[in-house]
Symmetry: C2
Subunit: 403 residues, 2 copies
């Protein structure tokens, strides 16, 4: 027999779902009866992607073959798809290119940022500051960029970053949201603090793009990178993107100047001359299958505003936390995700004893989140396809699993 | 009415095709009635790839979603597919990983080579030598690697390389075959010359892997890179590979140490600790769709020996050159491709006045090669699917186009 509280929350979930303006989007994805709360790791499959990729393989590659570089728009895909992502991160066209992995793009962005900072009368700048709580790859790559540019690497938690900035700071690499706790960092404030000392701000948007407004142009971000396989649903390992603010593009001096970033790529000239604009961020031949799968996946954003997505995301995580509070016995989990909306991304992280085993049992019962060592349960809420009913069920199954 | 010579060459083509041991392989590709001689740019589609990728999208991504990183073998794909390519380039298992573009892999290889050379008591080594006739991206990336490691870039044609080597040489980047002329360079001899001065040899195999024996292990090559979309038929922009000789792997110090190259990638540790073996060449999350399309494409190599492929390749280019000699009016084209087998890759390059226009007309008439500015017609011969009949027809249509 159900507790009255459960009836109430189920009824509330139904009411919230009934008036959810994004509700119809769910049908555009391939979903089953599991509650999929791992879209912050790998977004679900938009249903039309399979047919589009089949056409890329069978007709574009199989029949047109080499002609597709022109006729099927393969060659211009990196900048064309960059412009599709641009409005989702608050960027005007012409500032994003898609390609390579996030790690490779972090490298391009950081080395280029150090060069720009030094070029702007900042020759004495020899420090790269990196978010100490970052997803580790950013730290590893930052260390490599520092080593190759003769910089010292300074690690600081985002809240402590303003205190370590100074006239030696060349570039600062920050995560917009913490991959473990889901904490959202203050992009406008930290960018302003970095600019105040004459350094460049590089943001990693992996955990926010497609989940909440980023406002790259509005907040004067210098460079940004992000993956496309989480909230952008581009598919496993789909290409990342690089944003270079328009005003900096002339000074963007890539450490990976491949032929795709040449002003005249088919001129086959021995001397490198960088292309104008965002194309400078390209390197080698783009991996067309993954790139065009991403392009197809982005169709689900047609007619969707990021503000709408953000509103639903906050409503979902609020509701999930309320359900957890109602169902899960006191003291069994503790939320690491900030209560304040201004500090919350689109995931909920719960500290829990035996989290690895708990997540395994949750998955067996059809609630898919993930586990981050040593003791964190992560639940990602993708507003395009997660319902309030999903949130209620996840909390209920979690309570039963712990009960 | 046909010239007698044409009848003879057509009959010879038929006879050669009839006894071609690779003949059955042609059926494994999607081909139409065009003569496709651009496989040195984009290999034709192996027929079974579409179904395999459809399964990756629909079942692995769509249904298993995040579980596929383990259950569908996504995570280990880079090294697993590296081991599939290894025998094609004469490498024992455990020395290749697939991922990123050729340009990015050239960067990894060169910076790592400089570091190894310096570590081996060669601190004074400050020169990177690069093939002056190389595909331009290699030169651009070599220049970037030189700039970031404090080296001077020395350009030399392959034949002149031995003359510029010395105790200052750290690393040498060479193309196994020239992308314009199809000239094959002396990999064993040049590698030995590089080693004689204590430097490291890095080879770019884009234009030879899958067309002829490379012998990486046999000839003691240190590092090598190559694309997979030419003679390996991996699809447009399919991931490149990096070879690191087993004996050097402990000293391979990547400039792109992403989380995929960490000894414990899911440990999420702030300190970087490189994985053992070829995995050190990995960087970020692999683009799974392109990577698994490549894996499927490699199935066409089952039961094929590279020696067999090489024998057919030489027979094809010999026969094509004979047909060109017989059909094309004297003086209209001149072969840039060496006559000596030991100096020939798997393409024929013909210098021709108005080459751009000639190639356009050839393509209209169903003979697909490509044009390289200012005056080169390139014809690539992929032994797995090009027939002697194709070679005869291509020469005949060329003669008619010029006639």
């Amino acid at each position: 027999m159900s507790e009255p509280r459960e009836d109430d929350l189920r009824a509330e979930a139904e009411a919230l779902d009934a008036r959810d303006e994004l509700r119809a989007k769910r049908k555009e994805f391939v979903l089953d009866d599991t509650v999929y709360l791992d879209g912050n790791s790998l977004g679900a499959l938009p249903a039309h992607v399979a047919d589009r990729v089949a056409d890329v393989i069978t007709r574009q590659w199989g029949e047109l073959r080499i002609r597709s570089w022109d006729e099927s728009g393969w060659w211009t895909a990196p900048e064309r798809i960059g412009d599709r992502i641009a409005p989702l991160v608050g960027a005007a066209p012409g500032q994003l290119v898609v390609g390579d992995s996030t790690s490779v793009n972090v490298f391009k962005a950081l080395v280029a940022a150090v060069r720009i900072a030094r070029g702007a009368g900042g020759d004495g700048r020899d420090e790269i500051v990196v978010d100490a709580t970052t997803f580790p790859t950013d730290g590893y790559i930052a260390e490599s960029a520092a080593r190759l540019t003769g910089c010292r690497l300074v690690q600081a938690a985002p809240a402590d970053v303003p205190g370590v900035l100074g006239e030696r700071t060349a570039a600062v690499l920050l995560n917009h949201a913490d991959y473990r706790t889901g904490r959202l960092h203050d992009l406008p404030g930290l960018t302003a603090a970095v600019h105040a000392v004459g350094a460049l701000a590089v943001w990693d948007l992996c955990h926010t793009a497609g989940a909440l407004p980023v406002g790259l142009d509005e907040h004067g971000v210098d460079l940004a990178v992000g993956c496309t396989y989480k909230y952008l649903n581009g598919g496993p390992g789909s290409p990342a993107y690089l944003y270079v603010r328009a005003q900096l593009q002339d000074r963007f001096d890539s450490p990976l100047p491949g032929w795709n970033s040449h002003a005249e790529p088919f001129g086959m000239r021995p001397e490198f001359e960088a292309a104008a604009g965002a194309l400078r961020g390209r390197v080698g031949t783009p991996d067309i299958l993954s790139t065009l799968a991403l392009e197809a996946a982005l169709d689900v954003w047609d007619g969707v505003s990021v503000d709408e997505v953000r509103a639903k995301s906050l409503a979902l995580t609020d509701f999930f936390l309320r359900c957890v509070g109602a169902y899960v016995p006191q003291g069994r989990v503790r939320s690491l995700t900030p209560a304040a909306h201004s500090e919350r991304g689109s995931q909920v992280a719960l500290r829990c004893e035996g989290a690895g085993d708990v997540m395994r049992r949750l998955i067996e019962r059809g609630v898919v989140g993930d586990f981050r060592a040593p003791d964190v349960l992560r639940f990602g809420f993708t507003p395009l396809y997660v319902s309030f009913g999903d949130a209620e069920r996840a909390a209920r199954v979690l309570a039963e699993t712990l009960g």
